[in-house]
């Protein structure tokens, strides 16, 4: 049962992700990404992380992807819309693209070479904690053990927000 579920979810995630990259219509890409997120949420449930799975659905598939859909619709970018100007020279040229394809292929080969003879030997039991599965556990860990990382993330998000506002603000003529 778990075996079937794993391969099913994995196949859905991989195929949907491939289509996200392969689609020419950003609208379909967003929809397929939601499918991929759903499959990953299933995998999280199998890994005893139900909270992560639910968060994945609510935050990612529910909120962030809807935001993406709005952006796609508002920008009216219904089809392949090559970027122009500076960015076009940066990422659009034939040379950088060929280099990019080469680099991503290299990364894929490197990853598989690294994973090829990885042993799944049980790790030495040191001071690891049991996995945080309940909301209570996750809350405790977040505000006790990882309070600094949590606060640092919130500052990071604040910086991103300020940056987005500055970038989006129109220049006064």
């Amino acid at each position: 049962m778990t075996v079937i579920a794993f391969y099913l979810f994995a196949a859905v995630a991989v195929v949907a992700s491939l289509l996200v990259v392969g689609q020419r219509n950003p609208m379909y890409s967003v929809m397929l990404l939601i499918t991929s997120f759903g499959a990953l949420a299933g995998l999280y449930v199998m890994l005893d992380a139900p909270f992560t799975a639910v968060t994945q659905i609510i935050i990612y598939a529910g909120a962030i992807m809807v935001l993406f859909l709005f952006v796609v619709m508002l920008l009216n970018a219904a089809s392949e819309d090559p970027v122009s100007g500076y960015h076009a020279r940066l990422i659009g040229g034939a040379g950088p693209r060929r280099l990019g394809a080469f680099l991503s292929l290299g990364l894929a080969i490197e990853l598989f070479w690294a994973l090829r003879n990885l042993q799944t030997a049980p790790l030495a039991s040191g001071d690891q904690q049991p996995p945080a599965t309940s909301v209570y556990d996750i809350g405790l860990r977040l505000f006790q053990n990882y309070a600094f990382a949590f606060e640092a993330t919130s500052v990071l998000i604040l910086v991103a927000m300020v940056g987005a506002i500055i970038l989006a603000r129109r220049e006064r003529a």
Binding site: A13, L47, T52, V71, G100, S104, P122, P130
Partner: protein, 148 residues
């Protein structure tokens, strides 16, 4: 289903690597800014999957396990909620390694069953503020050890 291997940590890592590679290829090969953003999301999710899988893997070594229908914890500090009393069935050398955890957990009394006590261990338990009781805990609940 013997013709396909059970999913292990490696399966999850390989799946994560596949998704990450797909995302990288998308970032490099697509020219549409929105699709590039979506590819970055694919990469982020691949990393998320790695985190969750490794967390599960690390936890499975030391986390609570079910033994004959009873939840067993690797150490007393892992037990959720307060613990009123502990009963020792391990040699005193092992007892020395757990008595500090018992005090940290706020256990009030510790029963040392015959064979599990030693002068040092009793002294250590008393020094930590634990009420040390040298008795058989099965007899202590009014039952006979013969029945077990």
């Amino acid at each position: 289903m013997s013709w396909v291997p059970e999913p292990t940590l490696n399966s999850y890592l390989i799946l994560s690597a596949v998704l990450f590679s797909i995302g990288t290829a998308g970032v490099f090969l697509r020219r549409n800014l929105i699709t590039i953003l979506l590819s970055i999301e694919v990469m982020l999710n691949a990393v998320n999957l790695t985190f969750v899988a490794v967390d599960r893997y690390l936890g499975s070594v030391d986390g609570p396990v079910i033994v004959e229908g009873v939840t067993a914890y690797a150490r007393v500090t892992d037990v959720p909620g307060p613990v009123e009393m502990a009963t020792m069935y391990v040699p005193p050398e092992i007892g020395m390694t757990v008595v500090d955890d018992l005090a940290r957990k706020g256990v009030k009394e510790v029963w040392f069953n015959p064979g599990s006590e030693s002068p040092e261990l009793l002294a250590r338990a008393t020094a930590l503020g634990l009420a040390a009781i040298e008795a058989c805990s099965i007899a202590g609940i009014g039952d006979s050890p013969r029945k077990y």
